[in-house]
């Protein structure tokens, strides 16, 4: 062994086992968290910040995410960067349904998370009324540092997952009524807040 040839190598080899023990959970979560392949769903200015995050200055590749997956079938994390109109709601739902488990969703920016300033007839008031969301990144748009912090939170969340917990991987598909959440929950999630309560003057 070449280890023995190095100075002091024999001593090191004597105390170093040639195997490691670990939990399967830890190993799987370590692999998953450090090779997240994002499916970019960029619809607005947040997508510009997302591109900056992926480019050389901020370098998303440091987190194992350099491989953008433009096919949902090879993606792990759906990053909705920008506002989601109702016209795109079935599109993002189908993309989410096409992604294989395990999968996560990051809602990037105020519009994706809550509808933002667009509290109007055309805009989904938070993508969590359409697909389940793991991490919400605030900001309008969030700086790349903000998105990376959200990604690191997601990695932290993944490291805490358990393979034995089947509930994490349970799919909640769109039911026969066309919704995945009960209607009162959607109405509550979509309620006006902040400045948008003053937007009804012309209504």
């Amino acid at each position: 062994m070449e280890l023995n040839d190095a100075p002091g190598g024999a001593e090191v080899a004597a105390v170093s086992p040639s195997f490691v023990t670990t939990r399967l959970d830890f190993l799987a979560n370590w692999a998953r968290a450090n090779s997240l392949w994002p499916m970019p769903f960029g619809t607005a200015c947040c997508a510009i910040e997302f591109m900056a995050t992926a480019a050389s200055r901020f370098d998303l590749a440091r987190f194992g995410m350099e491989r953008m997956s433009f096919s949902p079938r090879q993606a792990d994390v759906l990053i909705c960067a920008g506002r989601l109109p109702f016209k795109l709601a079935p599109v993002i739902r189908r993309i989410y349904d096409q992604m294989p488990q395990p999968k996560w969703v990051i809602s990037m920016g105020a519009c994706a998370s809550s509808g933002g300033i667009f509290d109007n007839y055309a805009m989904v008031q938070g993508i969590d009324t359409v697909v389940p969301v793991d991490v919400y990144v605030p900001g309008c748009p969030p700086r790349p540092e903000g998105l990376m912090y959200g990604i690191m939170l997601l990695q932290k969340k993944i490291r805490g997952e358990s393979l034995a917990d089947a509930a994490l991987r349970t799919e909640r598909g769109v039911g026969p009524d066309g919704l995945y959440l009960p209607p009162p929950v959607i109405d509550e999630l979509s309620e006006p807040f902040g400045n948008s309560v003053h937007q009804t003057r012309s209504a």
Partner: protein, 186 residues
């Protein structure tokens, strides 16, 4: 401020009573027309030597907050060679039929412009070959969003809006005309 466009005098000579008031707004000449003669006037402005308004810039509509004021359909024309602009308006009674003649036979580009006005304001263009919604999806059931009686958040609850958005198939949102001929559009 610049003066009234010389096209107005030509329009009055050619169409008489069908031409209503004309004014200059921010340097642009605005002419109000009779609804029945819109198509004739547009064709005349396009084809008459000396006018040459060969470019249809935009078709849009206006509804004012004042309920007494009529809806307006607006055509913006430009004569590319003469570098002249003209804006035509037709006033529609909100209570009456919201319909004006199409000009897709004069400018093919009017197709989507007229569909947008129909989608947002509910103004029909008689004779349009394919008057479907263009911005909202085709099965959208809440009305015409840019009308003043349309609430900002829409008529339905958020849950109903999400349900309608998710419940219908994407393919159903965008029906192609069954007689679509690729050769014709090429």
């Amino acid at each position: 401020m610049s003066a009234l466009s010389p096209s107005v005098a030509g329009l009055r000579a050619a169409f008489g009573d069908a031409i209503g008031r004309a004014l200059v707004a921010c340097g642009d000449t605005v002419v109000v027309l009779d609804r029945a003669r819109v198509h004739d006037v547009l064709r005349w402005l396009r084809d008459e030597p000396g006018q040459g308004f060969d470019y249809l810039v935009d078709i849009t509509a206006v509804e004012y907050r004042d309920p007494e004021r009529p809806l307006e359909v607006v055509w913006n024309l430009r004569a590319l060679a003469r570098r002249a602009d003209l804006r035509l308006k037709v006033e529609l009674d909100p209570a009456g039929p919201l319909e004006v003649p199409t000009c897709t036979d004069l400018w093919k580009g009017a197709d989507w412009l007229e569909r947008e006005v129909w989608d947002m304001f509910g103004i029909r263009f008689a004779g349009h070959p394919d008057l479907r919604r263009i911005l909202m999806w085709e099965t959208y059931a809440e009305g015409h969003p840019l009308r003043k009686d349309f609430p900002l958040r829409g008529h339905f609850s958020r849950a109903e809006q999400v349900r309608q958005a998710l419940g219908t198939s994407m393919e159903g949102h965008y029906a192609l005309p069954s007689d679509l001929d690729v050769e014709e559009y090429a």
